[in-house]
């Protein structure tokens, strides 16, 4: 069943172009089967990466990714595509750093240019307290071997001349956490690259296929669902599928899927908004983040500023953007970079985020046998796509929780063993 992926290269671009021939399909459109070894729900970067690594690392190819809309229609197609590993807790740092390592070679591994621009990432500190947190993060990072340090206003000005580093602003820039390996990526290309790679190894992608229910037997809850039960398959908008393993990779919709299996989650769904300006000539060579002002911004190679803020103030599954976001974020960006006041906002949008109490994911096995979760990605999960896929695939294939994701198990909430990324949030602002 193994196919070879159509090779992408400049040479082939020329040869196909010269012969006016079309490129082959990036992934197939195949009929939906009635049984798979693994069903992955959610065609975002997490679902697709999980499927890809199941096939690539463990030879499990009888796998289907079910996506209710189009591939990348969730957070994976809506995020500001910032990658970094300068987290606060050691367990966070090593985890995200593994992801960055996978991202570094992803273009070559998937034979698709995902345009990872390792341009450097700075997190600004506007108060003593946030400067202290930056130092804290830098120190933890260094001890895990991650390139991260605190720099002063002069160095910041050199990296990003657009920033107002004078002492005049309401939020003076006192320093920043500088993380050279951080950067941005073409988020859609990552999604398509994994889909294409997985397809080439035999995995099936089914778009416009919505999971409506999960079949579970033997559980404590109503209908045999819930703890103690065992998954037997899923019901979809295109028919029933039997499968011993079902993986929830649905981010903002995670609760709805877990409810189908009778598993409770510590998740609230909040929209996160982002926006893009019209392009101008490139002037901002690094990613800039300000926790105090709740903004992050980068300029794409096309010249647009892409920026975002923090999640909306109330739970909702609605993703219309708000004017408050556009106003507030523009105001804060102008506070940092008064020079962009003539740039124009082109489009704003939102995506759903699966927020957890400790700003860390929920990964691995659940009290329902055969039902796994890779959720709780909140506002930061794109960067974790590769490592999550790799580790979830390992968990499925080996039936054991890999060490790297052990701190993120669902049971930590019952044990009150939260991950300290919340600590950073509490101290940061």
């Amino acid at each position: 069943m193994k196919r070879r992926p159509p090779r992408y290269s400049a040479a082939r671009l020329v040869s196909l172009g010269a012969r006016k021939r079309a490129w082959p399909r990036a992934w197939r459109e195949v009929p939906l089967q009635d049984s798979y070894d693994v069903v992955v729900i959610g065609g975002g970067v997490h679902g697709l990466a999980t499927a890809y690594y199941l096939a690539a690392n463990h030879g499990m190819t009888n796998v289907a990714v079910l996506e209710k809309s189009y591939l990348g229609s969730g957070g994976s197609g809506r995020n500001t595509a910032i990658l970094r590993s300068n987290y606060l807790t050691p367990e966070g740092v090593v985890f995200y750093d593994r992801s960055l390592e996978l991202y570094r070679t992803l273009a070559v591994d998937l034979n698709m240019n995902v345009m990872f621009s390792r341009r450097g990432h700075i997190t600004l500190a506007h108060s003593d307290a946030s400067l202290r947190t930056m130092h804290w993060r830098a120190e933890v990072n260094k001890l895990q071997g991650v390139d991260s340090s605190v720099i002063g206003p002069a160095e910041i000005k050199k990296l990003a001349p657009a920033l107002d580093t004078s002492s005049h602003p309401r939020y003076p820039i006192l320093g920043a956490l500088y993380h050279p390996p951080g950067g941005i990526i073409r988020h859609d290309a990552v999604v398509w690259g994994y889909a294409r790679g997985a397809d080439a190894l035999g995995v099936e992608m089914h778009q416009k296929t919505e999971v409506l229910d999960i079949m579970v037997t033997g559980g404590d809850g109503p209908g045999g669902k819930g703890p103690g039960g065992r998954v037997t398959g899923v019901r979809t908008s295109r028919g029933d599928i039997s499968a011993p393993v079902v993986v929830n990779c649905t981010a903002g919709w995670a609760t709805l899927i877990s409810d189908m299996a009778g598993v409770g989650l510590p998740i609230s769904t909040r929209p996160l908004q982002a926006a893009v300006t019209e392009p101008v000539k490139v002037f901002l060579p690094v990613v800039v983040v300000s926790g105090t002002l709740h903004v992050y911004v980068s300029q794409t190679a096309r010249g647009e500023l892409v920026f975002g803020a923090s999640v909306d103030p109330y739970n909702t599954y609605d993703i219309r953007g708000s004017l408050d976001f556009a106003e507030g974020t523009a105001g804060h960006l102008l506070e940092l970079m008064p020079g962009i006041s003539r740039m124009r906002l082109l489009r704003q949008w939102a995506g759903l985020c699966d927020m957890t109490p400790d700003y860390s994911p929920v990964m691995g096995f659940t009290p329902v046998e055969g039902f796994l979760c890779d959720v709780g990605w909140g506002t930061y999960g794109f960067k974790a796509g590769p490592v999550s896929g790799e580790q979830m695939a390992e968990a499925i294939a080996t039936q054991r929780t890999p060490e790297l994701i052990a701190p993120f198990s669902l049971s930590r909430f019952e044990r009150d063993a939260l991950v300290g990324e919340k600590g950073a949030a509490a101290v940061g602002h």
Partner: protein, 948 residues
């Protein structure tokens, strides 16, 4: 020169010539000219180059949406040159060209266009990996926009809220008629027109059209409608929160108006759609509307030998306009089955057109009138999904949304009378519905005037539908051409992308970037969908469209940001601090003196003599009522039922997860009167926390909580001489150590000011009095203290000195020495957690935490033999010889009192015993050893001074 003699509808003022420059070259036009009309009148044809292939481009739609007309004006990038009016000395430049418009060296990519199919960059530049950053830099030189000047200031912008009954988006005949009818029905109406004047498409019509426009505009004005021109409704958000950008404000550069419209009427008209064929982006290929605006509004003839490809009356009218303007015109009529196949010519201009019947006509202007796109976006922002109508070959709004109504071209076609009737009916319906909304709002609002009568019902929509005039479905000819002009995406690219599997409209959009440029699909969406439908063998309805999102037209960051409202708080003493050399720090919204030049000196003076500090930001809550002790017992972890009048107690508050939320002291001022202090940053949180318990879990408790933080100016008077000083000013209180003891509170008259209170507590570890003075007299008391204590050596001290002294004393700061996971037992105050109380916030977690052997604990730390090396705050503590983190320094300072560094830190319990040696990794990588101390207090551990 292509300027025509005066035209009946021209909007230019020939008596006012205006000089400006184009790429440094002198040009001139007249007041009322857009940059586009002035350039075209001056013979300029090529105004930009395309994004990817650098093909020369000229005006195509000659309106705000023209994808080829973006220019740089001074420091303003991406200016819509067919919208922006010329001004004297305006410096206009082509953007996206290198080195010049005429000779763009990157145009070579055009030759390679066959290879550079959509998404080519995903397929190349992968190897060698180390070369990618270089490729990246090269790619970024292709970024299409203008440039910004980093020194551009954020100019004076402005915002306004408004609550009209009806907002009408669009000032064409439909919008004007709707606004008029709504105003006549008694509604307060705001009419917003994107263009520079009311009239919509009538402005470039015939005499009859213009008369109609003028009459409607006059009636609108007379009816008291508020009219905004050169303003755009840029978005419709939840509950009809409507964003309007006003660009012609007399004072502000731009103003963002936020209107809570009771009803929004969308009357944006229609947008003319380009036709896809080979060569359709050559300069000289134009839409019929573009030609009509040039000729009729600006008296400019865009060509002399025209071929007009028309499928509708607008194309016919354009042909007539051109004839009248003296051009040679050949009509190719789509309604008779005629068609065009490709535009021929050099890169800088069209020279001929090849027709479907094989003929080839020479021309310098090729006009197309192939149909319309309905800009349904404002309705889509209200969750409406447009539906495709085959007969008219355009999308229509589907489900009517109660508080958003559509009229005009968006809703259908018809004679001017039919349209105006529909618009008037829409205006009346809008007014009636607005009345219903208004009544509900007023009835539900406490402060509002009482409503008259019954709530009006929801008026049903009984407007007769507008007719729909059939239109041929013309999207693409037999050749391939450009679909998205700003993104340089051709129909061929799209077919290729669909074959590769990017065959839903959303994937196609993202893969090719079609509809993602500055016009956001206004020109190209329907053609994109049509090409995809053709490639997939589906109908347009089956393919559907991408989602329209705000803003309707791009908005400057300046307008969105507006004036920044960033509240700042200062104490009554602030002017004194300013006048006396304080260096300030920001603490949340508070501006506080960090120090007055020498923090260590301030510490020494306070420890030796007496210091005073402005601690006004300290949160203060006035608590009254018989059940205050119950509330206190619930909020704090320790006991409060038996606090005596005149006494003060310290407490820690935890959230329900046991994590420390805040700490502070509360004193009992009277029988049922208490005063609580909180940390400066915790004041608002604690107040809402207290209210939450009172209002939700214990509504039976009789307690009034009132925040009085800035009602009192708070001054800490600390140091061995503080009692002497206080004696001089607070003569009515017995300050003897026995009479007014540590942890007690007294009300007092200080320096003649009544109603002060003070308590004997000391964060600094010194004998100290914390004075709270009614704020209107705070400065007077501060100055009185300085005057009265001059001989005692009284000096002010700031936050930094206080931080040093509290650290010498080992007092922790919530949020600095604790973090988002620190539970109360970790800070060494286990005795303050009283599990024998019936209930308090976080009780179960604290019970479990008291038993938890693994949580980090807070300890005092001092470096061992590195006398003057001050460990850095945030330095990590590791297991010796490894990188395994087992703690961290949370606070650290050089102690001026002890002449050695003192720290607090969190460490794992296994290394928390006094005397344990710790390895601290300094920020520069050095590892030093430090020792866990016996007491949190490095200085005066027995508290002799503070009790003195």
């Amino acid at each position: 020169m292509t300027r025509l003699p005066p035209q009946p509808g021209e909007v230019i003022d020939r008596s006012r010539p205006v000089d400006f420059t184009w790429n440094g070259r002198a040009m001139s036009g007249f007041a009322g000219d857009t940059i586009a009309s002035a350039l075209t009148a001056g013979g300029v044809r090529v105004v930009s180059r395309s994004m990817k292939y650098r093909r020369p481009r000229g005006y195509m739609s000659n309106d705000y949406w023209d994808p080829n007309g973006l220019v740089q004006v001074g420091d303003d990038p991406n200016v819509r040159s067919a919208h922006r009016l010329i001004e004297p000395d305006m410096a206009v430049e082509a953007q996206n060209v290198w080195p010049s418009l005429e000779h763009d060296l990157r145009a070579v990519t055009g030759l390679a266009s066959r290879f550079l199919t959509a998404g080519f960059y995903y397929k190349t530049f992968m190897r060698p990996m180390w070369l990618w950053p270089t490729y990246e830099k090269v790619l970024s030189t292709f970024s299409p926009g203008g440039r910004i000047d980093l020194d551009t200031p954020h100019r004076y912008h402005d915002k306004r809220y408004t609550h009209p009954d009806v907002v009408v988006a669009g000032g064409g005949p439909a919008g004007m008629a709707a606004a008029l009818a709504a105003a006549e029905a008694g509604a307060m109406v705001l009419l917003v027109e994107h263009g520079h004047r009311l009239g919509g498409h009538l402005l470039w019509g015939d005499d009859h059209d213009r008369t109609l426009a003028a009459e409607l505009a006059a009636a609108v004005e007379a009816a008291g409608v508020e009219v905004l021109v050169d303003s755009t409704v840029t978005g419709r958000y939840e509950d009809n929160w409507t964003a309007i950008v006003q660009r012609n404000h007399p004072v502000a550069v731009e103003r963002l108006i936020k209107a809570r419209a009771k009803i929004l009427v969308a009357a944006p008209g229609l947008i003319e759609r380009p036709y896809v064929f080979d060569g359709n982006d050559k300069p000289g290929v134009m839409l019929s509307g573009a030609v009509r605006r040039f000729v009729n509004m600006h008296a400019v003839r865009p060509g002399s030998n025209a071929v007009v490809f028309t499928a509708n009356s607008d194309g016919d009218a354009a042909a007539a306009d051109l004839k009248r303007a003296g051009a040679k015109v050949t009509v190719v009529d789509a309604r008779r089955g005629e068609g065009i196949v490709r535009a021929l010519g050099g890169s800088k201009s069209v020279r001929a057109v090849e027709l479907a019947d094989g003929r080839r006509l020479d021309c310098d202007l090729l006009v197309t009138a192939a149909g319309w796109t309905a800009p349904t976006s404002l309705l889509n922002m209200a969750c409406d999904r447009p539906v495709y109508d085959e007969a008219t070959a355009r999308f229509f709004p589907s489900v009517p949304i109660g508080n958003v109504l559509a009229t005009g071209g968006l809703a259908g076609d018809g004679s001017p009378d039919e349209l105006i009737d529909h618009a008037r009916a829409t205006g009346r319906l809008a007014a009636a519905r607005a009345r219903a909304v208004s009544h509900r709002l007023q009835a539900a609002t406490a402060r509002a005037r009482p409503v008259d009568g019954e709530a009006p019902g929801w008026p049903p929509d009984i407007r007769p539908a507008l007719p729909r005039v059939p239109h041929p479905a013309l999207f693409r000819s037999t050749t391939h051409g450009v679909v998205d002009f700003s993104e340089d995406v051709s129909s061929k690219d799209m077919v290729g992308a669909a074959t590769e599997g990017y065959d839903s409209v959303e994937l196609l959009k993202r893969y090719t970037t079609a509809t993602m440029g500055p016009s956001q699909g206004k020109l190209e969406t329907v053609n994109t969908v049509a090409v995809l439908a053709e490639a997939r063998g589906q109908t347009i309805a089956e393919v559907g469209t991408t989602v329209w999102r705000p803003p309707y037209a791009p908005v400057t960051m300046g307008a969105l940001g507006g004036r920044l409202f960033e509240p700042q708080r200062v104490s009554s003493i602030h002017p004194w601090h300013q006048a006396n050399g304080a260096t300030f720090m920001l603490a949340g919204q508070w501006i506080r003196p960090d120090h007055y030049g020498d923090p260590a000196g301030e510490v020494r003076n306070t420890r030796q003599n007496v210091g005073i500090m402005d601690v006004t930001p300290l949160g203060k809550l006035d608590l009254r009522g018989p059940d205050v002790p119950k509330l206190l017992s619930h909020l704090y972890t320790n006991k409060w039922m038996k606090l005596a009048v005149g006494s003060v107690r310290y407490g820690i508050m935890c959230a329900e997860d046991g994590v420390i939320l805040d700490d502070g002291v509360t004193g009992r001022l009277g029988d049922q009167h208490y005063m609580m202090t909180t940390t400066s940053s915790g004041a608002a949180t604690v107040w809402e926390w207290a209210e939450n318990w009172l209002q939700t879990e214990h509504p039976d408790w009789r307690v009034h909580v009132t925040p009085v933080t800035s009602g009192y100016t708070s001054i800490n008077v600390a140091g061995p001489e503080s009692r002497t000083l206080m004696r001089r000013l607070a003569g009515d209180v017995d300050l003897d150590p026995e009479a007014f003891r540590y942890m007690q509170v007294r009300t007092a008259t200080v320096a003649g000011i009544r109603d002060c209170f003070m308590w004997r507590i000391g964060f600094t570890g010194e004998l100290s009095f914390e004075l709270h003075v009614p704020a209107g007299h705070g400065l007077a008391v501060w100055e009185a203290l300085l005057e009265a204590g001059e001989d005692l050596g009284v000096r002010p001290f700031g936050v930094e000195a206080q931080r040093i002294m509290r650290l010498e004393k080992g007092h922790f700061i919530v949020g600095q020495d604790t973090d988002g996971l620190t539970k109360a037992p970790a800070v060494g105050l286990r005795h303050l957690i009283k599990l024998d109380k019936h209930d308090f916030a976080g009780k179960p977690e604290l019970a479990w935490a008291l038993e938890d052997p693994s949580a980090p604990v807070l300890v005092a730390i001092q470096p061992t033999h590195h006398g003057r090396v001050v460990p850095d705050e945030a330095a990590q503590i590791v297991r010796p010889g490894t990188n395994e983190i087992i703690g961290r320094i949370t606070s650290s300072r050089m102690s001026p009192s002890l002449h050695r560094p003192v720290c607090l830190g969190q460490v794992l319990p296994e290394v928390s015993d006094p005397g344990t040696e710790l390895t601290v990794v300094m920020l520069d990588g050095r590892r030093i050893t430090a020792r866990v101390m016996e007491h949190h207090a490095h200085f005066d551990p027995d508290g002799v001074r503070v009790r003195g």
